[in-house]
């Protein structure tokens, strides 16, 4: 998808013009290198900024104002890409061609009021809202074990030791959050405009000049220049086996694998083929063997987190079948070194090609694709199709030799389902 870049004083606007959709989506991306405190700050910031603004210091009034302008979706969140982290504010609203004239401007102003006109008093956020946000976040962390899937994913992430620094575990996260107050969060918020880069993406049937003017009147800050994202790559540690106990019937199994010394081509394309042949979808080796042939689980899949050089395999099993399941998974990982067929690779390429075609059916997919090109060294849709076709069975087998299991994690459940009845 083509886009145009507009360089402003110290930030960039990227326009993607399309008449296919009745909505306009704008994504504001603040980027900088990740620190271990970021996760806590941004979780609190999201809650505080989304719940009130200076003009609308009450949740119901804020909601009412939003609905008055046809309920634009406003979301604040964060994502990581290797050593870099983005805090984003996304907004999607109905193009004024389908509602009322002037609504595009009102929608953008409303969304940006969360960032540029928050409720601030004496150099701090509203204490009441801050305390609620802090309380909610801490209670959520305490209760994370109530959802076995989420807990399992949190724990394997911890055990994989993803970052070069020591991350907070659940307890440390809670302890650190306890120390913060509304002033600390406000200080962190201010760094959005001094320590971050800003890139804005606009997609829809828009007038570039009009949108640029609206944005330029509001956006202020001493933004830094952003380089390409820096991916994490390191050697695998010795295999670590970790078990936690849980009072559930089913056990959750997670296996973390690390890719060592990937070339750019392997990182972008071969690892995708590898991951999907091993554990992507119905035809994957793991699904065939663990679910279909041995009826050990309802689901098993592998998911690739390539900016971090890793993949995770997840499944839900009976604790009694732990050894058998892990053995079967290990065998399939070993199997990838010698036994990958042209047919398996073709299937993965076909799914990939279809996904590329479908990108143009959704605003968010187009947006993500363009962001990939801007922030990382991702290729455009056309190049992706050509390059994926170049991947050979031998490429996948060679990559399999660079794959190491690093963590085997079990959240061990116990009883046999009798209490269901």
């Amino acid at each position: 998808m083509k886009y145009t870049k507009k360089e402003m004083d110290n930030y960039n606007i990227y326009f993607i013009k399309t008449k296919k959709f009745k909505t306009i989506t704008i994504s504001f991306n603040f980027g900088k290198e990740i620190t271990k405190e970021d996760q806590v700050y941004r979780a609190l910031l999201k809650r505080v900024l989304l719940h009130e603004t200076k003009k609308y210091p009450d949740l119901d009034k804020l909601c009412r104002a939003r609905m008055n302008i046809y309920d634009p979706v406003v979301n604040i969140g964060a994502s990581e890409s290797g050593l870099d982290r983005i805090i984003y504010l996304d907004t999607t609203f109905v193009n004024e061609k389908y509602t009322e004239k002037g609504m595009n401007k009102k929608s953008i102003e409303f969304a940006l009021s969360h960032l540029y006109d928050p409720y601030v008093k004496d150099g701090a956020f509203d204490k009441k809202v801050f305390e609620i946000a802090k309380h909610e976040f801490i209670e959520g962390m305490k209760a994370i074990k109530d959802n076995p899937d989420n807990y399992c994913k949190e724990r394997i992430w911890e055990e994989m030791e993803i970052y070069p620094f020591d991350e907070f575990n659940i307890k440390e996260t809670i302890d650190f959050t306890e120390t913060l107050n509304e002033k600390d969060l406000y200080k962190y918020y201010q760094t959005l405009f001094t320590e971050n880069s800003l890139d804005i993406f606009v997609i829809g049937d828009t007038n570039e000049e009009e949108i640029t003017n609206i944005l330029n009147n509001i956006i202020k800050g001493d933004f830094k220049k952003r380089g390409k994202d820096r991916f994490i790559s390191r050697k695998a540690e010795k295999v670590k086996v970790v078990t936690d106990e849980s009072d559930t019937e089913q056990s959750k199994l997670a296996i973390g694998i690390r890719y060592e010394d990937l070339t750019d081509f392997e990182r972008k394309y071969v690892s995708l083929a590898y991951n999907n042949i091993l554990g992507g979808g119905w035809n994957s080796k793991l699904n065939k063997v663990v679910r279909e042939e041995n009826s050990l689980c309802y689901y098993i899949y592998a998911t690739r987190k390539i900016p971090f050089g890793i993949s995770f395999i997840y499944s839900g099993i009976d604790a009694d079948n732990y050894n058998k399941t892990v053995d079967l998974i290990k065998k399939q990982i070993e199997n990838m070194k010698t036994n990958v067929s042209e047919e398996e690779l073709r299937r993965v390429k076909d799914v990939y090609n279809n996904a590329l075609i479908s990108i143009e059916d959704s605003q968010n997919s187009i947006l993500n694709n363009v962001m990939g090109q801007v922030f990382t060294d991702a290729d455009d849709i056309h190049e992706r199709k050509i390059n994926m076709e170049k991947v050979t069975v031998d490429d996948v087998k060679n990559l399999a030799k660079k794959v190491k299991i690093e963590v085997i994690y079990l959240l061990k459940g116990g009883s046999n389902g009798k209490e269901n009845l």
């Binding site: 296919k20 959709f21 009745k22 909505t23 719940h51 009450d58 949740l59 119901d60 909601c63 009412r64 939003r66 609905m67 008055n68 046809y70 309920d71 109905v94 389908y98 509602t99 009441k128 305390e131 609620i132 309380h135 909610e136 209670e139 959520g140 305490k142 209760a143 109530d146 959802n147 076995p148 899937d149 849980s246 009072d247 559930t248 019937e249 089913q250 119905w282 035809n283 679910r291 009826s295 050990l296 689980c297 309802y298 689901y299 839900g316 099993i317 073709r346 299937r347 076909d350 799914v351 090609n353 279809n354 075609i357 479908s358 143009e360 059916d361 459940g413 389902g417 269901n420 009845l421």
Partner: protein
């Protein structure tokens, strides 16, 4: 084929009922992708019926419809349908609800190959003792994951306590014990009765040519023998108006308390289109519990309440089922607060107009998305017997006075309360 139009939504739908009884709806849209879904009007809550060509009613094990959905993917020629969909680069899956079972694919290429697979999927049953037994372990794991989730466990208990007779009260997948009773004979009884095309809907939206598509579907079904349409007879239940059990506490390994509060309302004697009934209730609940409400603001500010009170609305036979849930540190008087708020019944014209305006916006946005348009057509046909081509006008003509009168006529007192709390030794 008859061409109909969703007024003011830029959507044309070509519809036809084939001689075998299959209802087909085709909606071309300017997208790359096609979304096709085959739905049978048979879900988990149909458990007592007269099988096709048999005289006596039978009662089947809980979870059979869901089990059948899994086993439709098994084929006599050993073809792996999921695998073939994936080979064509299509996303495909199936799901069972209390009301229906659906099979679908989405793909921007190889449409006719995929459509052929979808039709094969629902027209070629193959159940053996071996393949049924093999599925037990897989479904057993699927069910256990559900029962381990405290929100789901609370929901299952609430359904059991809301309804006394309707099998809607049971979990869609049944229980680990009941699925063990399922065998090929039971599956064939269900298949032969409910998977006849006359009990099914095929909805196709996206990048399709209606003429070529309907020809393809007709050619496919012309080769099959579907002359003998089953007369579907299912058991009627005499569900009492009152909830089955007013309250229950269940114990799980949870940190906080999860609360479920369900209201049961008989709407048999209400003289209003079902679509309007459901829309007015939704508007009412959005005003009383949504972002604009004072209730939501109070919940947000109350540190005891960890998740906002959410609600879901469903409709089965003559009953509306409204289920609220939330997560709290202590139970306190949350149930009473929900009760008082839902019974307050006061809504302002200003709030009504605000929500009304946004409902209209929502259907405009719905008309953009291939999967959402598909879901809407399929849902409307099942719920109202045909697509609501005048949906825009129905929504546009909703009015405040009618909504107030309708809400005031409802009795929101009949409810059941479930607490999911920590096990104590």
């Amino acid at each position: 084929m008859e061409k109909k139009t969703y007024k003011k939504l830029d959507l044309d739908v070509y519809e036809e009922t084939l001689t075998c009884g299959l209802k087909v709806f085709i909606c071309p849209m300017d997208r790359h992708e096609v979304f096709a879904k085959m739905t049978t009007n048979y879900g988990a809550s149909t458990i007592e019926f007269k099988p096709h060509l048999k005289e006596e009613f039978i009662k089947i094990p809980l979870g059979t419809a869901h089990f059948l959905e899994h086993k439709m993917f098994a084929k006599k020629d050993n073809r792996d349908i999921m695998s073939l969909f994936q080979q064509n680069g299509a996303q495909s899956n199936a799901f069972t609800s209390s009301h229906v079972t659906s099979y679908y694919f989405a793909s921007p290429s190889k449409f006719f190959e995929n459509l052929n697979l979808l039709l094969d999927l629902v027209t070629q049953p193959y159940y053996t003792k071996e393949n049924v037994e093999k599925e037990m372990g897989i479904i057993d794991q699927e069910l256990k994951a559900g029962f381990d989730n405290p929100f789901e466990a609370g929901y299952y208990t609430t359904l059991l306590n809301t309804f006394k007779e309707l099998p809607y009260r049971f979990p869609v997948g049944g229980y680990c014990e009941t699925i063990k009773e399922i065998n090929p004979d039971v599956l064939y009884d269900c298949y032969n009765t409910f998977y006849h095309p006359s009990n099914m809907i095929l909805t196709i939206t996206g990048n399709v040519d209606p003429d070529e598509t309907i020809k393809f579907i007709k050619d496919y079904y012309d080769k099959l023998d579907y002359t003998n349409m089953p007369k579907i007879e299912t058991k009627k239940y005499n569900e009492p108006n009152e909830v089955n059990k007013a309250e229950e506490t269940i114990y799980k390994d949870v940190t906080n308390n999860i609360l479920e509060n369900a209201y049961k309302i008989n709407i048999k004697d209400i003289d209003m289109d079902l679509c309007k009934i459901l829309t007015y209730i939704n508007i009412y609940l959005t005003i009383k519990f949504g972002g604009v409400s004072n209730f939501n603001k109070k919940c947000f500010e109350d540190k005891n309440i960890l998740n906002p009170v959410r609600y879901m609305l469903d409709h089965k036979d003559n009953f509306l089922f409204i289920d609220f849930d939330t997560e709290v540190i202590e139970v306190k008087d949350i149930f009473e607060q929900i009760y008082d708020n839902v019974n307050d019944k006061k809504i302002s014209k200003e709030d009504f107009d605000l929500i009304h305006k946004n409902i209209i916006k929502d259907i405009i946005l719905m008309s953009e998305n291939v999967a959402k348009v598909n879901r809407s057509i399929d849902y409307q046909v099942r719920k109202y017997g045909h697509p609501l081509y005048n949906l825009y006008d129905i929504y546009k003509n909703l009015n405040y006075e009618e909504c107030v009168r309708f809400i005031n006529s409802l009795d929101f007192t009949n409810n059941t309360r479930t607490i999911v709390t920590k096990k104590t030794d």
